[in-house]
């Protein structure tokens, strides 16, 4: 591909690399390490394995593999790790990235195309990285007369609101960023911010098409929020809790979708409308109003809004799994120990390979089944894009305000009947543990 310049000398290259490494090393020793130690001197340090975690101990644990596991075990139970890495933002963003890639490949296969192909050796797997770099490198154009503070703030708000929904989602028993007792209401409350952000952004763009798109988004989201809430109501009545972990835990005998399929359907349709996906992508209808409320977005502003909407897609799919598909319950397929007999043996290397004390079979199994179900729901949400056209705003409003609301009541009455007749619910014939 690229050619080597004529004055290229391999010795010069190696020399410059060595020079660079030396500069970095000296910088680290002279500046960065003292700063870290100095800072840690004032920070109250936690206790791990009966020892106070001093910086010296920290580095010795990193070097000694036998002592690394407890520190990792300590780290993954901190709030920072949960919010930033595992059930929180990084994990959700990775799922969102995978969703975008799978959506493009799946849609391409449905439409007899190949999809992303060249970036990355295998099936264009780095297409998303390439797109992200392109979006970062692009100039952000702010329309003249735009309300600049809101125009810059709205994409950040969009992403952070999506991340806030993600933080309420439990992926395994005890694995949730914020274990709120009113988790379901909090989720719906945060979802209620999206129309506001959309309208603010479209208004701040100072352009006609975003304005129409924003109004459409407002109409659509408000119309579908009520069936959205109502479809979750029988679940709350049945599990007698608003805590999302408790709702998932109440389905250890049967999945809620078995007795309330209509509500699951309504929830699915409403979440499609919340996500502005085809057939409900009226706020972005490109043939009528250019790109709707995203018309004036460019560069990373567009990238952030896309990231936010895919985070939202993950959050709503996970919510569907928790409410209707039995959360993390599934057959135990992971062994109780990675290497049998490792915890009782005296060989330290065996303990390291078996991830002793870190590996929890129930948690890993829960995460596995949760992700399998969530991926299935995400796929079902993606597939509508390939088979449906866009619908019209009046049909949409009619569907939201009239048909779906009526449909939700059918299952509500069925569930109430089953509870009052003493079959289901707390203290009923079939009730969870």
């Amino acid at each position: 591909m690229g050619s080597i310049t004529p004055d290229f000398r391999f010795g010069n290259f190696v020399g410059s690399v060595i020079q660079l490494v030396l500069v970095i090393l000296s910088l680290v020793t002279v500046l960065i390490l003292p700063i870290i130690f100095f800072t840690l001197f004032f920070v109250p340090l936690p206790v791990v394995n009966g020892q106070v975690l001093t910086p010296y101990l920290f580095f010795s644990m990193v070097v000694d593999p036998a002592r690394t596991l407890p520190i990792i075990k300590f780290l993954i139970h901190t709030d920072l790790f949960r919010a930033a890495v595992f059930p929180g933002f990084t994990f959700a963003a990775l799922v969102a990235a995978a969703t975008i890639f799978i959506e493009r490949k799946l849609l391409a296969k449905m439409q007899l195309r190949v999809g992303p192909l060249y970036a990355g050796k295998i099936e264009g797997i780095f297409q998303l990285v390439a797109d992200g770099l392109k979006l970062i490198a692009k100039e952000i154009i702010v329309p003249s007369g735009a309300d600049k503070p809101i125009f810059w703030l709205a994409p950040l708000l969009f992403v952070s609101t999506s991340a806030a929904v993600v933080s309420l989602i439990p992926v395994a028993p005890g694995w949730v960023v914020a274990n709120v007792n009113v988790g379901l209401i909090a989720t719906f409350g945060i979802l209620g911010f999206f129309p506001l952000i959309t309208l603010l952004f479209s208004w701040a763009s100072n352009s006609k098409y975003p304005f129409i798109g924003g109004l459409r988004a407002l109409h659509q989201m408000v119309a579908f929020e009520i069936p959205f809430f109502l479809s979750a109501l029988p679940v709350v009545i049945l599990s007698a809790s608003l805590n999302l972990s408790d709702i998932a835990r109440s389905q250890n005998i049967f999945w809620n979708i078995l007795i309330m399929p209509i509500n699951a359907f309504v929830f699915y349709i409403s979440s499609l409308a919340e996500l502005e996906r085809i057939p409900f992508d009226l706020p972005e209808a490109e043939s009528e109003i250019v790109a709707g409320w995203l018309t004036e977005t460019s560069g990373m502003i567009f990238g952030l809004i896309q990231l936010g909407s895919y985070l939202k897609l993950y959050a709503l799919s996970a919510l569907f799994v928790i409410l209707f598909l039995g959360g993390w319950y599934g057959p135990q397929i992971f062994p109780h120990e990675l290497i049998p007999g490792a915890s009782t043996s005296n060989i330290p290397l065996l303990k390291i390979f078996a991830l002793d004390g870190l590996y929890n079979a129930v948690t890993v199994n829960s995460i596995f089944w949760f992700m399998v179900k969530t991926s299935a729901v995400i796929l079902i949400m993606l597939i509508t894009r390939g088979i449906n056209p866009r619908i019209r705003i009046d049909i949409l409003l009619h569907t939201g305000w009239y048909k779906l609301i009526v449909l939700t009541f059918i299952n509500l009455f069925i569930v109430l009947t089953l509870i009052y007749s003493g079959i289901l619910g707390p203290g009923g014939m079939i009730s969870p543990k």
Binding site: Q111, K208, L282, E286, E288, V290, R390, I393
Partner: protein, 386 residues
């Protein structure tokens, strides 16, 4: 029972009244222009009151290239490559009527095999054009699969064109006096295979697109153009046939060998946007049927072209011939003053005639109905602007 003029006047008055009555900030002027993804090379300015369109101002001419004037500086053969530009994915049909008019002017008849080959090329190009149009119709209704499938299946027919004319899209195959060259060896079998497979693919469109309840909801009962209105507005082709008028030039004014072919004129009586989208699809199925018949009845050998001088001159006079193109009746009026160049060439394009129905249908409909109405009119802006 009000006449069309009254209806149009009423609509005009009403829209003007609304424009006058409401304050300026209530109505929003949207330019669905050449830079807008929903219109192609064509601009129309619409005024919306909330979600309702109250005024439409079509403004064609963005891609006007003066083909009619250019014809006066070239001889009859030199005109061919530039005359297929206005509708280059329907080039066999847009040249067909030109060739018929020139042949009528000069007074020659095309050999029988040439007539068949020309008719096959015309029917194949109808398929290519209609697939392209269907792809655009699908994507503007937000159905991305319906964009990719026809755009991909179109390649089947384009392969055939490449095989017998050497070019994929702008092949300039029909010329005055016949066609440029004979079919290659073994073409009949290849053509039959491709067309049969193509027809099988067409059946799948019905499952994914036409029977989709969301599409039906969106297009049925939208943009009603009644039979009387359609006739009075002078629309043609699939738009006219979707309004319940079984009018097809191939049937009412058979040219070349079309009077020997057995086919039905496809029409629907529902007069709405769905019918206008469905009639071209039925036409495609009928075209496959016609192509099989033509291949069957075609003479095995013979001339395909009446040899003419390169600089052919006709007697002074005029001629007018029209054919059924992918969009409707496409006619050429040629006036000759006895020299080797035409004195005047006038194109009567179906797109421009179908455009007449656009303001009539759009006023009073919703903004969301704009794409299904506009694209169902089988309107190709480049051809209308000439």
């Amino acid at each position: 029972m009000s006449s069309l003029e009254e209806k149009i006047n009423e609509a005009k008055k009403l829209s003007l009244q609304i424009v006058k009555d409401t304050e300026d900030d209530r109505l929003m002027t949207l330019s669905v222009g050449p830079q807008h993804p929903g219109s192609g090379h064509f601009r129309f300015v619409i005024k919306v009151d909330g979600d309702y369109i109250v005024n439409v101002d079509p403004d064609p001419g963005y891609v006007h290239r003066g083909h009619e004037k250019m014809c006066e500086y070239r001889n009859y053969f030199q005109n061919l490559p530039q005359l297929e530009r206005p509708a280059l994915h329907d080039s066999s049909n847009i040249l067909y009527s030109y060739c018929l008019a020139v042949e009528d002017l000069i007074g020659i008849t095309v050999p029988r095999r040439g007539q068949f080959i020309r008719a096959i090329a015309s029917e194949l190009d109808r398929l290519v054009y209609t697939e392209y149009w269907l792809a655009i119709y699908g994507i503007f209704l937000g159905h991305s699969t319906m964009f990719m499938w026809p755009a991909g299946d179109r390649e089947l027919i384009i392969d055939l064109f490449e095989r017998f004319s050497g070019h994929r899209v702008t092949h300039c195959f029909s010329i005055p006096g016949g066609v440029r060259n004979d079919f290659p060896y073994n073409f009949k079998e290849k053509c039959l295979t491709q067309v049969n497979y193509f027809e099988k693919r067409l059946k799948e469109y019905e499952h994914i697109f036409y029977n989709n309840p969301l599409l039906r909801q969106r297009t049925e009962g939208v943009g009603i153009l009644s039979k009387e209105d359609a006739i009075k507005l002078g629309v043609t082709g699939s738009v006219l046939r979707a309004s319940g008028v079984p009018y097809d030039i191939r049937k009412v004014e058979p040219y070349d060998i079309y009077d020997e072919i057995d086919f039905n004129v496809q029409y629907m009586k529902t007069c709405d946007s769905f019918a206008r989208a469905y009639v071209p699809y039925l036409d495609m199925l009928e075209s496959c049927h016609i192509i099989r018949q033509l291949l069957d009845k075609m003479p095995e050998s013979g001339d395909v072209r009446e040899k003419l001088l390169g600089n052919v001159k006709g007697p002074p006079g005029e001629s007018y011939k029209r054919v059924e193109s992918g969009r409707g009746a496409l006619g050429y009026h040629i006036i000759s003053d006895g020299t080797s160049r035409p004195y005047r060439v006038k194109m009567s394009t179906p797109s421009f005639r179908n455009l007449m129905a656009l303001p009539f249908l759009l006023v009073g409909s919703k903004l969301g109905d704009m794409p299904p109405i506009y694209w169902s009119l089988n309107y190709w802006p480049i051809e209308a602007d000439r």
